[in-house]
Symmetry: C2
């Protein structure tokens, strides 16, 4: 069994595993409502928001797609910043949903500049939304969300800013309210150190106002989740065990404090990159995120190094996806991988192969 | 902590809990593909089909909605048999999705007759789909799916039959191929004794042919799941831990054999209902499902009995929903509740209250 060092899923620590193994409780009970109300409050801390928070069953992809489904109506114009495999999904989904998705397509590894985003928005008739991936898992690139958000909102105050924070929230500094993010989305298998299957989101007042009722059985409509959560309820069968796991992770994050968690991620990334540079390796993105290191050694086949690490050291890093297949490796610094001594172990193993 | 006797979620048995606690593996690995290919094969046994099977992150509601989303295009005419809270969702969702949803609305507790279904279909221009709930969790009513399916398919061979089997598949006799069911859906927290959060489905060749490509990132489109599963892959982040749990339950069901599992459910229901009748109680539906007993005592406030069972005996049964609130109680015979001695324990407790 390999040690999982991929940028999601991350290994499940014991304290989360114990929470997952708690006896099932029914979701139509006072006990559940009280637990869930507390969890939603802990999510406010995670997102740094005073607004509404929610969860739904799904993977991160479904979370972002549900934001588009819930916030915009067919015909609405949105701008999607494409900077890798994951962010490329949002524009395509917007089109499936009937939105007018304009794409700002960057080369993989690049991060959007404020001017590019503002320019792209200016070319649109009446942009209603902007979708940005804060930290792109496929390339390891970060964008300066604060700078972009403040510039855009100064010109288009009514535009809804949707942020894929799947590999950033809970690992990198993220301030939903201060950065005027209208919809922030994350998933359970990254900073929250839980099994995949749960989406968490935070909404500004403007985003909440943009929700529309469809039908109480519409699984994808955030309206239903917010309405139920006023009483601590879930609109559908609640994923009770997953919520137990995420609840335990949130409690741990509150206890340690977000600054300490961010710093641990940052330090693991720093240490990893010092070793990398010493060995002639390079980071792939121009503006690297601390959540993961996407890296390569010039003129080396990265896939054979990756396989050797698995076979000889039981250490499982991710390779590149799509156009980056065989060209990079990706190492997580999130959750259980936000650990300096683990970075040293990985390099000790890498040195036997290089 | 109460013993959960609700018709979903059911308690998680130890052998499933152990599977859930296995170390996370990454979903882009040979190990995962091999495991998942085996699981899809086990699902063929569960559904009694030679067709394609799949899973997706979601609750049962999302599973049925995804069937409608994946199989029909806006404008398609479908008939939805409404017989309780859950089945009422499918027609409403169909309308949200742009389908022409005609409803055959029965009183709660009733089951559809063949003639009613055929008559309703005859009144439609060109029905493309029929959505039936095999066992309605809100009322405990079963429908004679085999009889209805064969009659309907004899007249409309091209119509796609979608079956909500959430509280029937794995607990009651169900034969997808023999009954000509085109899309069968179940969820993890019932017969599969796992945490809520996973949908499983089976597709006929006709249903598979009706799938259409939208975009590879469209989370709700079954097309993506079937395409990936050809190689044992998952189109999105796989819910690895949930799949481990469901895999363990499926292995157990294969080992015991479906007939033994069906019989255990049936026997638990029979024993429960003998006690019920002896005490002057009545079953609520006219054609009861063995998956659960929805019952009442004439002139008694069922909610106070239910609360007393929780407070005095830590036994948690469900109450009625919507129009049945306070009027019935619902006891599970699925999964860990398919157990005769447990039924005796429940009645020993009930006798101290009645």
């Amino acid at each position: 069994m390999s040690l999982l060092l991929t940028p999601g899923p991350v290994p499940i620590p014991d304290f989360v595993a114990e929470a997952l193994a708690r006896p099932v409780i029914h979701h139509r009970t006072t006990e559940f409502r009280s637990f869930y109300t507390g969890l939603l409050e802990d999510l406010r801390y995670l997102f740094q928001t005073k607004g509404a928070t929610g969860t739904m069953i799904g993977s991160g992809t479904f979370g972002v797609e549900s934001a588009l489904y819930s916030l915009f109506r067919p015909g609405a114009e949105i701008l999607v910043v494409e900077m890798g495999k994951f962010s490329e999904r949002w524009g395509a989904y917007g089109s499936v949903r009937g939105l007018v998705s304009k794409r700002l397509s960057l080369n993989w590894g690049e991060s959007p500049k404020v001017d590019q985003v503002v320019h792209a928005l200016r070319e649109m008739q009446s942009p209603q939304g902007l979708v940005i991936t804060h930290s792109e898992t496929a390339t390891g690139a970060l964008c300066d969300l604060e700078e972009i958000a403040l510039a855009v909102k100064a010109i288009w105050p009514d535009l809804l800013l949707v942020v894929d924070g799947i590999t950033s929230i809970g690992t990198l500094p993220f301030y939903q309210d201060a950065w005027q993010v209208d919809a922030a989305i994350t998933a359970s298998q990254k900073a929250l150190m839980s099994p995949a299957g749960l989406v968490a989101f935070g909404l500004s007042a403007a985003a909440e106002a943009a929700l529309q009722e469809t039908h109480s059985g519409d699984f994808q409509n955030w309206y239903n989740y917010l309405k139920s959560s006023e009483t601590g309820d879930y609109p559908f069968t609640a994923p009770v065990q997953l919520l137990f796991g995420v609840g335990a992770a949130l409690a741990r994050i509150r206890q340690e404090g977000l600054p300490a968690v961010w710093q641990a991620t940052h330090q693991a990334a720093q240490v990893f990159r010092q070793y990398l540079v010493q060995r002639g390796g390079k980071l792939y993105p121009e503006e690297p995120s601390d959540s993961l290191s996407a890296f390569f050694f010039p003129d080396r086949d990265m896939e054979s190094i990756r396989k050797a690490l698995i076979e000889q050291h039981q250490m499982h890093l991710s390779g590149g996806q799509s156009q980056l297949k065989g060209k990079i490796m990706r190492m997580s610094h999130m959750g259980t991988s936000a650990n300096v001594s683990l970075m040293q172990d990985v390099w000790a193993a890498m040195d036997t192969i290089l």
